[in-house]
Amino acid sequence: MDKNINIKLRIWRQKGPKEKGGFENYELQNVSQGSSFLEMLDILNEKLINEGKDPVVFDHDCREGICGMCSLYINGHPHGPDEDVTTCQLHMRKFNDGDTITVEPWRSAGFPVIKDLMVDRSAFDKIIQAGGYISVNTGGVPDANAIPIPKEQADMAMDAAACIGCGACVAACKNGSAMLFVSAKVSQFALLPQGRVEAARRAKNMVAKMDELGFGNCTNTGACEVECPKNISISNIARLNREFLKAKFKD
């Protein structure tokens, strides 16, 4: 049964990208275990606003685990201690009465802090712009079933496309590598005939952009896969390596 718990929070506060940040301690009484982690932060912020203090800044949007906007490094895990959920779907029943919860922003050179717990993840948008699309002429919509695709291929492409680009992979990686994200975005196209046309160019351009933006070199620790809220497999990274090397050797 869910009950109400009292918790201590240790939250990273930072006024701006260039300012020096530090931890602040807060206490919250009577938090329902049925509430989500972000609702708990809402309660904290309401309390802070009522006290005339600055509320804690954090990213959020859909709050149903599909938009990829929420983040937070909670007690040593990106998206907290629960399996395969984003922070917005993390419930307070994963915590106990009297717990101290440490909340930090994603930490990586590629994701600079904007304020408090909010980081700048526009690097992912730039990687997508470098090749994470297929070029389609405007005009009549072709019949969806005109090109037969084996079920297994379609399933694998769909699994890769489940990536919501939240950046937990980068946050979990000791190398600050974005390979899981890039590999999912390359795989979702590489597995389908429509994506094959630009496959070589896509792999080269997206990897080049990823390197340019300062993400690290993957050393296959597998931490990304463990923390990914969407269960993206690191076999996608092998596929990206394959696509990239094939493209380079063909040049």
Binding site: F23, E104, M156, V207, D211, G214, A238
Partner: protein
């Protein structure tokens, strides 16, 4: 070919290929050591006639040394870049993500193996091939005898065993990681490749350990 240094996957590719090449060298080295258990004469023949100061052995040594140098230089480049990519602000709470210890400590294990390698080269290669090449005094022709002398010391044996254990940890991650990086992996083969890597690492390190222990306790040269 500038992508082999400029691109992250290119750098990882070089690291993988050089690593796989060194794995092959280890396999050869371990097989050669096994001869010590059976016959010192046969071992000396391999060490002096097949290897020794022949032109092919010198080229071979050079190629292997190049493999090591490339692997080490790339390891340093990759590690430094990855530290930079991680950013200067570190997490205050320790990571609770469960990952294999060896996968996080490949550089540390590598440095340890390199230190062992320097000691090992000084103990053997310096006295065997190097002195013969430069015609320095004290070059050893009786290689098997040299091995028994060095390994008769219990401390040396202990260092060797620890180094082989470090090598085992390095290989259990290195083998499958190298295949993953060259793209030779998928969902089905992930587990298989890891198992093959573990078996391979175990065979190599067990082979080295058995020979070192056998020579130390005198269970060698069994066939005379």
């Amino acid at each position: 070919m500038s992508w082999l240094i400029k691109s992250s996957i290119g750098r990882k590719f070089v690291q993988s290929i050089s690593g796989l090449f060194l794995v092959l060298f280890l396999l050869f080295h371990m097989s050669m050591n096994l001869v010590l258990i059976f016959s010192y004469d046969a071992y000396n023949f391999i060490a002096n006639e097949i290897l020794g100061a022949n032109w092919w052995a010198i080229i071979g040594t050079g190629v292997i040394a190049l493999g090591f140098v490339v692997h080490i230089i790339y390891a340093i480049i990759l590690t430094l870049q990855n530290r930079k990519a991680r950013g200067s602000d570190r997490y205050a709470s320790a990571s609770k993500t469960p990952v294999a210890w060896s996968s996080k400590n490949m550089f540390v294990l590598g440095v340890f193996i390199l230190l062992f390698l320097i000691v090992h080269l000084y103990q053997f290669w310096y006295n065997m091939q190097f002195k013969e090449l430069l015609q320095l005094p004290g070059a050893r022709e009786d290689s098997a005898q040299l091995v028994t002398e060095v390994l008769s010391n219990g401390w040396v044996l202990a260092i060797y065993i620890v180094a082989f254990a470090a090598l085992w940890l390095h290989l259990t991650h290195g083998f499958w990681s190298a295949l993953q990086t060259v793209g030779w992996n998928n969902t089905k083969w992930m587990k298989r490749i890891k198992v093959i890597g573990n078996i391979f690492a175990t065979i190599i390190c067990l082979g080295f350990m058995i020979v070192a222990i056998a020579v130390h306790f005198g269970f060698s040269n069994l066939l005379g």
